[in-house]
Symmetry: C2
Subunit: 713 residues, 2 copies
């Protein structure tokens, strides 16, 4: 027999405080109003508990809606006192209890075990977590029989399924595992079976080998970074934060928010620190390009961080982008802080290098930021960490670059149309492997038309990038550098990227030195994924009258070869993206060069790929330095027919020389010659005194790199 | 010797009223604040009067900025009393006066005569109009010598150039001509030479053969429509409205706002009635896709309309989109009206058919609108009027279709990157003729791969479309229909388009019947310009391994043939554009059919074209009825990973038959069979009793068309 359950996540006092926000023009007031509006719209539909359907199909979506709105209805019943909301939860739970055990398990189509409602138990975990929370909010309004019906025919069978039938999966350390333990632990509390809470915290055997504590200890690097990238991080963060809040209230002895030196706070910080200035997450690994801090899970995380770790300007800036908070006591704390501050600006995160691996020694992810005169944030992201497990792209040393509100050097994102049922049920498409995860699909160098690690996941998991330097406090020019010497047999790779501020340029100049070393000659394809309209080049090229793929190699077979030309000296490619012009100037230490203009879409009979552009700078050689800049300049507004500074000022780039100790490159505008000296010594420190013999001249400087300038006019 | 000039466009009382708006949160207060901000930013640059440069180049833009900010500074000096603003105007005018006569005339590159500042005198007219207005605002702060310097060395030489050197052009009836007469008339007032005002109003010979009155009498159809389309209309509307306001004040005897039964108000109404629900103008003829009612000229027109013709809900809705008003007494009237109304909604223009030609008998442009349950406006535009002079596209019976905030069946717009100097100086590109103006680039039928009127402008100017019916008051299904029987030798064309509301569909269903008649067999290419991701089809096609152009014909030579397949029965093409799904179902009366998927970019060596998609339904036959629907359905949100109703409900479309008297088509969902009967009789009226023998059966209805429905389940 069940004992009466109280709301698991809200105290009476919290409910009272939240009630006062109804109708107010605060972040919490707006969150409540929006939730009421959405819930009322859902309640205009008849109650329905369908059978199971395809991933992304009608039934799938309906089950998802059912738990989403039960979760809202439970809390909104408490906050507004509206009995119809409790009734919705009761009726839906009763209906599920009526039919749940009559549903067969789905036929398994991918690697995940199947549930009775969904094609994979992951979704069933999610269902259980939210439904259990909703139940706890309305259980006091149910009769004993009603409660027992739900417990016997729904919650207990689910607990049994997750911990017995699929028990072998329960202790796996994986982002899905957090949903599993949160669901089981919370449901255990809801049905007064605390043994399930114990299992969720300490593992099935309650020995710490599995469960929540093991997961939060092992899933994240010391920096807090999650190796599958921000897209999966934000998916795991919701049950992580919700369950942490539950443990804070129901297992206070854990002191969960201080556990492992505050690992929960640290991993939230790390996740937020990856975001672009507009709040979107870089599409590291298999990820959507549009996931952002507006995600409901990130809202929970930001609100919870405010309550348990403190509030600063950047957190308030995040709340401003989110324009909402978690409908919970934690969210109220943030909402109150926001309300008391009159002029919250947008967040400007510091540059940060997030280490990877259990002890932080398996490379890192670099997030470098600079601001232009108008305070616009330029963000450069470089991956020099681990392969992102099953979701990993083969793009070590790949970069992405964001400014003026958009990604300029772009990540393609995953080959997947999430929840679009006619597109393979919304699951990952074949093109995810044959294109999106291939090296050539990224802003990186592909050697001999072969993917890094030869598209071998095991090999990729065994290696990682090596940080070289990360220097965010240089006044004029921030920079980061890393090696990837194990990703191609017999090839050393080093990439050093900088953002230079100088009065010649209206905005920070991206400088990119990509060095490759090898005993024998190779083909190096230095690719740049961009969007927009090509405005001009400074070289002749052949626009093909008939299109063929760039080659039949993996990745390349999806690229139409639109045009190609030979280049020497400084090759220039300029394009317009939305309101800004961009000019790439590139060269290499080899006497040969070619540029290919490509567009995705070849060998894509089902139109699964988006049509996207790149240009590839190809050169052949042994040891090679590829050097380029990307200048951001001008302004175009089609509606108002304005165009200024469509040409930019960077005129030339030259490789003076490079060796194991240093690379030296010159960049010229009409007015200034810049000489960039970069140490290639893996052991360089910020105090190193460098003397490099390059092209018969000695260059000397202190630290990782230096930039000198000579006035030309 | 000059006499002291007062502000031409503002009275002392108006200035006083406008002053009171400074700092207020009204449309006028916001307009003033924005203008001050922009002007202050400009004033941080040193004063500069460059020589002449390329179209779209630095010097061009600087001259443009100079007149733009003089125009603001003159009025803002009066409104705010800030002496620095008057000083800016004085200094700039003095500087121009110092150097104007030292500049040579540009070398002529296109058909327009050149100026001393600009590559074409059009821009010099614009310069003069705004500078004269600015001068009139600050003349009272100048010394006699200062005024005389400007008059002798700048204004008088300009007046002379426009009316003597280029006098042969002054009386031309053309949209550029309005700028000419407005500039000369206003400058004449500014320098106290009223004879120039007379010339501007009545023509050089002051006999009414040229000048403003002739222009506004002849440029517009009785409906107010301007034959070059809204893009050029809004360009001409600014000097038209500004000069009308000047005449209202300085030649009150003209009673200009009642001239020719209020032609000025009527043409403003017509222009506004073309706009899509988001305020953008359909890109009829050579036009940018992004021009909207936010254009400064349209702001002047809306404010002036408010003052002289009255204010209604739709005008307030326009002001809401503009979020601004003309900084003038007229704008204050609109701002005050807006302020006094608490809940201004977005405008919903009625459906309107705008006739063309001097007497309104040269066809028309149809703008049909319907709303879905959420009040979203669906707009269908069909061109069955005249060829738009030198800017005309060859697209009679072409349609465009807008809903849910975006154009769905799309206009490509012009082949031009306005003001982008590296793109041929921002002028029209060759691809404008070889692609953008060709029939195949539009949503129309191309016969035998040949452009309408064989791309012969004279031939095109000699023919026009014929209205058939325009029925906007039908409860369930609005529709319009027209003929174009002279655009291809020996081919009759009729297009009838409808928007059907029915509970089976979540949104109005677009139904499109395109009928072609001929004595011999032809190839008909029924093309659909769309954007987004193809989701599914219901037929097999060959995705080409190697891309070639669809054909070498004009227009076609820019289209890559991506994929093609044979179709029979109802062919289905479904795509996702932003947040909405669209499903096209099409068929024809012929037993043969093919669909081609295309993308622009072939034979485009300078990357002048945007990369855009279309699908072409091709069939061969003599008399042929092409029938299709476009269903708008579902919702996709990548960020929130939501997808609903990705498939739609339209299942089948069948041509039952067609003849000179009628076409009958059936459309089916799972639940309903719709039978659409349309009269093809050019003389049909809304009262006609129709009896059509089609496929051995007699169909009877009253009026232009009828739809019957049968329940299937």
């Amino acid at each position: 027999m069940s004992t009466l359950v109280q709301p698991i996540l809200l105290t009476g006092n919290e409910v009272q405080q939240l009630s006062k926000e109804v109708g107010r023009d605060t972040l919490m007031g707006k969150a409540i109003a929006k939730n009421v509006k959405d819930l009322e719209a859902f309640m205009r539909l008849p109650i329905e508990v369908p059978g199971h359907g395809e991933a992304g199909g009608y039934e799938h979506n309906r089950h998802k809606q059912n738990y989403t709105y039960m979760n809202l209805a439970g809390r909104l019943f408490l906050i507004t006192g509206e009995e119809r909301y409790a009734q919705l939860v009761r009726e839906l739970l009763a209906s599920y209890a009526d039919s749940y055990l009559t549903f067969d398990f789905h036929v398994q189509k991918n690697t995940n075990p199947t549930g009775r409602l969904f094609h994979q138990i992951l979704n069933e975990h999610v269902w259980l977590m939210f439904s259990s929370l909703a139940y706890s909010c309305v259980a006091s309004t149910m009769t004993e029989d009603e409660r027992q019906h739900v417990i016997d025919n729904l919650f207990n069978p689910m607990l049994d399924m997750f911990t017995v039938k699929y028990g072998h999966d329960f202790d796996r350390i994986h982002n899905h595992g957090i949903w599993a333990v949160a669901a089981v632990g919370i449901c255990g509390l809801a049905v007064n079976r605390r043994e399930f809470l114990d299992m969720s915290v300490y593992g099935l055997d309650r020995d710490g080998s599995g469960g929540f504590l093991a997961q939060i200890s092992k899933l994240f690097a010391p920096s807090g970074y999650y190796m599958e990238g921000p897209y999966y991080h934000r998916y795991a963060i919701r049950p992580l934060c919700v369950f942490a809040e539950v443990l804070h209230r129901h297992m206070p002895e854990l002191d969960i928010f201080n556990y492992k030196d505050g690992v929960i706070g640290r991993t939230v910080e790390a996740m937020l620190a990856t975001a672009y200035p507009n709040g979107q997450f870089p599409a590291l690994n298999d990820a959507s390009r549009t996931m952002s801090i507006n995600d409901a899970g990130v809202q929970v995380a930001v609100s919870q961080y405010a309550e348990h770790y403190g509030i600063d300007e950047n957190l308030l800036g995040m709340a401003k982008i989110q324009d909402s908070v978690w409908m919970h006591g934690c969210g109220l704390t943030l909402s109150n802080a926001f309300e008391s501050k009159s002029d919250v600006g947008l967040p400007f995160w510091p540059s940060v290098e997030l280490n990877e691996g259990p002890t932080g020694d398996r490379g890192a992810q670099g997030f470098m930021r600079a601001q232009d005169k108008d305070k616009d944030v330029f963000q450069l992201v470089m991956n020099y960490g681990q392969h992102g497990m099953g979701h990993g792209n083969f793009d070590t040393l790949g970069i992405s670059y964001f400014n003026r509100g958009k990604e300029v050097l772009r990540e393609y994102g995953f080959g997947r149309w999430v929840n679009v049922e006619p597109k393979f049920g919304g699951r990952y498409l074949d093109e995810n492997k044959t294109y999106a995860r291939q090296t050539i699909a990224h802003n990186a160098v592909t050697v001999d038309e072969t993917c890094q690690n030869y598209f071998d996941v095991e090999r990729a998991d065994s290696v990682h990038g090596e940080p070289h330097f990360f220097c965010a406090d240089h006044q004029q020019m921030v920079g980061m550098s890393a090696f990837a010497n194990a990703h191609y047999d017999g090839i050393g790779q080093q990439r050093s990227v900088f953002m230079l501020k100088h009065e010649d340029f209206e905005a920070p100049l991206l400088i990119d030195l990509f060095r490759l070393t090898s005993d024998c000659a190779h083909q190096y394809d230095y690719s740049h994924q961009f969007d927009g309209q090509i405005i001009r080049t400074n070289f002749d090229y052949q626009a093909h009258k008939e299109l063929n793929v760039v080659s039949d190699a993996l990745g390349y077979r999806h690229l139409w070869n639109i045009a190609q030309g030979n280049v020497s000296g400084s090759a220039l490619v300029s394009w317009l993206q939305e309101n800004s012009y961009y000019t790439w100037l590139g060269t290499s230490s080899n006497p040969n060069g070619q540029i290919f203009f490509t567009r995705t879409g070849a060998n894509d009979p089902s139109f699964n790929l988006r049509s996207e552009q790149s240009f590839i700078f190809r050169t052949h050689g042994e040891d090679t330095l590829l050097a380029s800049v990307v200048e951001t300049h001008g302004y175009f507004n089609e509606e108002f027919e304005q165009s200024v500074n469509a040409r930019g000022v960077a005129k030339e780039i030259r490789v003076i020389g490079h060796s194991g100790s240093a690379s030296v490159v010159e960049i010229e505008t009409e007015k200034t010659r810049f000489t960039l000296m970069v140490s290639n010594d893996p052991n360089v420190t910020c105090d190193s005194v460098n003397h490099a013999e390059i092209a018969g001249k000695t260059y000397s400087w202190v630290g990782f790199y230096a930039i000198e300038q000579a006035v030309l006019v």
